[in-house]
Symmetry: C2
Subunit: 200 residues, 2 copies
């Protein structure tokens, strides 16, 4: 049994113990899988707030953006200031989506996942942000089962945040915490253009 | 008419123009008021993600935490690394809430608001985070009308983010964008304790 299998087994055992025994005040350290979905703002911003939090605790962070341009250029510019603490990968450039060359898009998504898998395999990284992964899954560019297996096989203490609207039921099932960001009111609808520092 | 009155008037005029004329692709720069409410996670994290975004754009940021301990110590530790770019104020220590000395709590909230008002009066600050302000308003420690008037009188290009569950209807009415973070599933309920880098 290799290290990943071993971690997967240990994770599943611990999770089972938590659920089965309904330990009310578990004192175990345990890396969480968080999902931010919904049609509102704040899915990615909230993940980036967690990056700041993790850095404040001296943790190392890995970020993979599955959709180039989906997240803020401001956040990228800021977190790239910390190359020793943050590994920042922007993937997904040039997706053709459903319109053009699906095989090419799948190949690009697989490349992005290979990068994510390296982060998910690195014990030194305390938090991995998989920004807009839900979109790549929704389009079927990545297999959910494989993605969930790789996430489950991560180091025991590593937290993972997955963002993007339209989280698949299997992703929600696997998550420890799921938050839906719902739009109540949006400035764009009143004719205000996207503003630097807020939208990008 | 002093500078604050003038800005208030200009803001109201611009807002009225936007709403009245339903300008579909307004090209104006315009500081937004964003509200993050709801019972889920991510209200404050998302605001702190926006702080990172703003810093990436070279903006200056002001933060007032109305409830000490409500936001993450990790975020505070991290953003205090940038004293030239971030003014970070943790107020609200020692609130007795409804239980004890309401007049003392109101006095503390007023002190916190005085600090917020300085940030809201500073043209150099591009983003102001008023973390958990909704809670102080809900408890009646601050007058909504006065708070909204001060927010409306801020510099035209300054963005403001207000967080906290239970946003009052008047706050939602005044906001440009409102997002409700709703809890779908939470690890705590499965007996997982709060984890460093995620919850605090």
């Amino acid at each position: 049994m290799d290290a990943r299998d071993e971690r997967h087994r240990a994770r599943m055992q611990r999770k089972k113990a938590l659920v089965d025994e309904k330990i009310a005040q578990a004192q175990d350290e345990y890396g969480l899988l968080l999902v931010h979905s919904g049609n509102g703002k704040g899915k990615s911003s909230s993940a980036f707030g967690m990056v700041a939090r993790a850095l404040g605790h001296g943790m190392q962070v890995g970020i993979v953006q599955f959709i180039k341009g989906a997240a803020s250029t401001g956040e990228e510019a800021f977190f790239r200031r910390f190359p020793d603490e943050v590994r920042y990968h922007v993937m997904g450039e040039g997706f053709t989506w459903e319109t053009q060359d699906r095989q090419r898009d799948i190949a690009k998504a697989q490349q992005a996942w290979a990068v994510a898998r390296e982060l998910l395999d690195d014990e030194r990284i305390g938090l991995v942000v998989l920004d807009e992964l839900n979109i790549a899954l929704k389009y079927g560019y990545l297999e959910l089962d494989r993605v969930l297996a790789d996430i489950a096989a991560r180091p025991l203490l590593q937290h993972v945040v997955v963002t993007g609207r339209g989280a698949l039921p299997g992703m929600i099932e696997a998550a420890d915490t799921v938050t839906e960001m719902n739009l109540v009111k949006h400035a764009f609808k009143a004719g205000v253009k996207a503003q630097k520092g807020v939208e990008f």
